[in-house]
Symmetry: C2
Amino acid sequence: MQELVEYSSLIERKLSEFNFPNTPENLYNPLTYFLKLGGKRLRPVLTLLASEMYGKPREASIHAALAIEVFHNFTLIHDDIMDQAPLRRNQETIQVKWNSNIAILSGDVLFVKAYQLLVRQEEKHIKELLEVFNRTAIEVCEGQQMDMDFEGRTNVSVDEYIEMIRLKTSVLLGCALELGALIADASVEDRSNLYQFGQNIGIAFQIQDDILDLYADPDKFGKQVGGDVIANKKTLLNLKALELSDAMSLEELTKLKNEADLNKKISHTRNVYDQLNVKAVCEEIMQHYYNEALLHLEKIDLLDSAKDNLKHLAGYLMTRTV
Amino acid sequence: MQELVEYSSLIERKLSEFNFPNTPENLYNPLTYFLKLGGKRLRPVLTLLASEMYGKPREASIHAALAIEVFHNFTLIHDDIMDQAPLRRNQETIQVKWNSNIAILSGDVLFVKAYQLLVRQEEKHIKELLEVFNRTAIEVCEGQQMDMDFEGRTNVSVDEYIEMIRLKTSVLLGCALELGALIADASVEDRSNLYQFGQNIGIAFQIQDDILDLYADPDKFGKQVGGDVIANKKTLLNLKALELSDAMSLEELTKLKNEADLNKKISHTRNVYDQLNVKAVCEEIMQHYYNEALLHLEKIDLLDSAKDNLKHLAGYLMTRTV
């Protein structure tokens, strides 16, 4: 994906050019640190690609693209506190390197920075940009709250789970694309189709994440295969398995939650899942959302050639092994 | 202050009409709870008074006024986490009644709500409203960070302290007024003077807070007189006392920080302050900022009668005993 590489380096460069004030150090140093941790920068690239589809130069939506990435990083900083995560991209999280108060407050400042970036777009677009962005920001918080609520529940349904990942991660991909289209003065229908494309790709991507966690090639995966199983995390695999279980496999899965031998825990859980055909069932659901995404891309009122970049990007995201 | 009462009931009513979604309960119930805790609603009243000065009906700036109040409450929710405060207006804080993760996240949502309100103002004002609001929001975070940094320092100067209270609390009063003036299409000079009026009143008000903490009439004060002394909090009284101290009083103040008998701690600290004439010195500084505020109010290009409400409000704030 040449475009992804090229566009994400542009984003990386622009992020590195942010000039935070020198003081208070404890407010701004964490932000400089966190934005340097890297990442795919997928979301802002979507914004740039969306406005470029309509013939706009990539600079036209750069502030909105950066706002999306900055907002995403704000959510990561606050999520890391809530999850008590020690590491982010193999580096210490802000609340470990500094403390959680500093993580709360520097996150808040980064959130304002997202709005400062949005306001730098052309004035005629600002109101609508903010309306889409605000709605999405609230949905992302709702998704995070659902995720936290799920931890304390035993009866989460597959539908609820998909609604949670839609809100927590997928709407932001839709929003990223819609902002780009909005800046390019695309029609309301096109904006909506691009949003739906992004949202559905996001759901498919998240389901793939769940599948890879247990079924990735350990040589390529780069982290512990089965991490979600070890942590007894609710994933689509796990919830589907519970849904499809008979009394016996339900009993086995319940017993495995407390299994101390982690290799055994992972392999036995996988055995139960395999008996229930869970992987194929989840892949089918993933494929459904991927197809939905492509359907919305097709509906967009542009030549196929203009859609190639997004189509390739979607295909690329779906064939990853990591 | 009839206007304050009347306008703050309008704000109270509008806040109670907020219709948060029903789910996730753990995200929205805390917000409904927190906004019902009450308060003077001083900041949004300033916004309404500012636009009314220019002949605008009070409804003209209602969304911006609510945005200011909602933002203020967002900062209180996050500050309560950072300060590990058990109570807010004599009721449990969100992190006590729920937990700190819920306080972080519901605070974040409330912050977005402030932006949603701002975007409901007339489109022609949105860009400028956001520019002033964003700058202020960042300054408030900077002030909170300075305040936290001060806790771990022994050498905070009076100037640094005043800069901290300017950022943490006073700029928001300036911003509240400027947004109202902006909506009324006031001149840039008037906007700036109103901002300065608010900022200086804010500093004076905060200094008064510090003085009242130790010198209020215990029968009227409604809370522990000397609370800041007990907590060894850095206040203007405390910093001025350290600045004016000779070696002997410095030693006594240092010793008193660890005094276990709290009544003795308060009365002896007050004795040292009285010897150093600290109260009068701080009142003089307060008066300086109050005079500065009135000077900026005078410069505003309107008939005196139009400024009466703000002048009365300022006077009223400066004569409080609680």
